[in-house]
Amino acid sequence: MKKTFFLAGLFVLIIGIAFAQTGVKKRRPLPFEYGRVVIDNYSKRYRLAPVVFDHWLHRAKFTCRLCHVDIGFAMKANETDIRAVDNKNGYYCGSCHNGKAAFSSCRDDFGEKNFGTCTICHSEGKDVKKKYDFREFVKGWPKERLGNGVDWEKAERLGEIKPVDFIEGISIKRDKFVDPPDFELKAKVLGMPDIIFSHQKHTVWNGCEVCHPEIFVGIKKGMTKYSMVELYEGKYCGVCHNNVAFPLLDCQRCHTENIQ
């Protein structure tokens, strides 16, 4: 009798643990899914599928600064409030997707006959054949363990990618860049190497405005205290290093006493 109760209890415990795991565990995105953003400001309202935006394709061609400063895309999905008319007028996606630099977006003459063009972007939940295949696109590029599986920094160094940082008529001519100094951030866990933060490595693709003051408000080193928990919540470094740039799981990319 005691044995039956014990087995029944064990069974309930195992089932409980199994369901608890599925309840909290988040599936790690596959390399081609990493950095994917689903945008639905108005799509569903107009009976269109939400837009699926792949960061890997765009970051290979443009700097972060170009899109998030010059074109004005917010750092979080659905915060930009993109309307079809904005794209049609040459803003947001329409800055490049204008029929010249890339295929047109949200044109007036899009309808049932050429609906296929809409579904290139408005593709959530649809089986759309994209122009670029991820595996073919990144073939031969330096590998990385996590994220997209690509070492983007090295890819640029080797000339595999040449991200554009200026679009005539949209970007403004800025003075030559002056990099602020690199600095050290002390790790809170004993035995964990400190972080040497390289401003140069971040500014080359981001400029200054992407991070300051929207993401990093503190004006004095050490003034803003942040923890890994906050980073995983998508704050501070986690704004990019949780979604697009190499993920936080890649500890040794930051926690190294030498600049990596």
Binding site: G72, N89, V178, I219
Partner: protein, 109 residues
């Protein structure tokens, strides 16, 4: 006959004037639009080396941004609405960076 010619002349002149003034108005609007974009480009050209600007220069840039923000917030119409949204955000990012750098410099002194 003379009166008819006089009336015709007056009508033609007034038509010409009204057409002319609308043309001037159109040019004025177009020029005005370019003017604010140029001012934006000038005011925000120093973001990459904001750290090299003096406190006074930073204050001047912030002031320029504030004046321009008023101008941008007046943009209207369908396209103006988008321009207001896009350039309003771009200008804010630029202004905030100048302010951030100013605070840093003032604290350092």
């Amino acid at each position: 006959m003379k009166i008819f010619v006089l009336y015709a002349f007056i009508i033609l002149v007034s038509l010409g004037l009204s057409h002319g003034s609308s043309l001037v108005g159109t040019l004025g609007n177009a020029y005005g639009q370019e003017e604010w974009k140029q001012e934006y480009a000038d005011a925000c050209a120093k973001t990459q080396n904001a750290m090299l600007l003096t406190i006074n220069e930073l204050k001047e840039h912030i002031e320029r941004c504030d004046t321009l923000q008023e101008r941008i917030s007046e943009l209207d119409g369908l396209e103006g609405g988008t321009a207001r949204k896009v350039y309003g955000k771009r200008l804010k990012m630029c202004r905030d960076l100048y302010e951030f750098t100013l605070n840093y410099k003032e604290k350092k002194e």
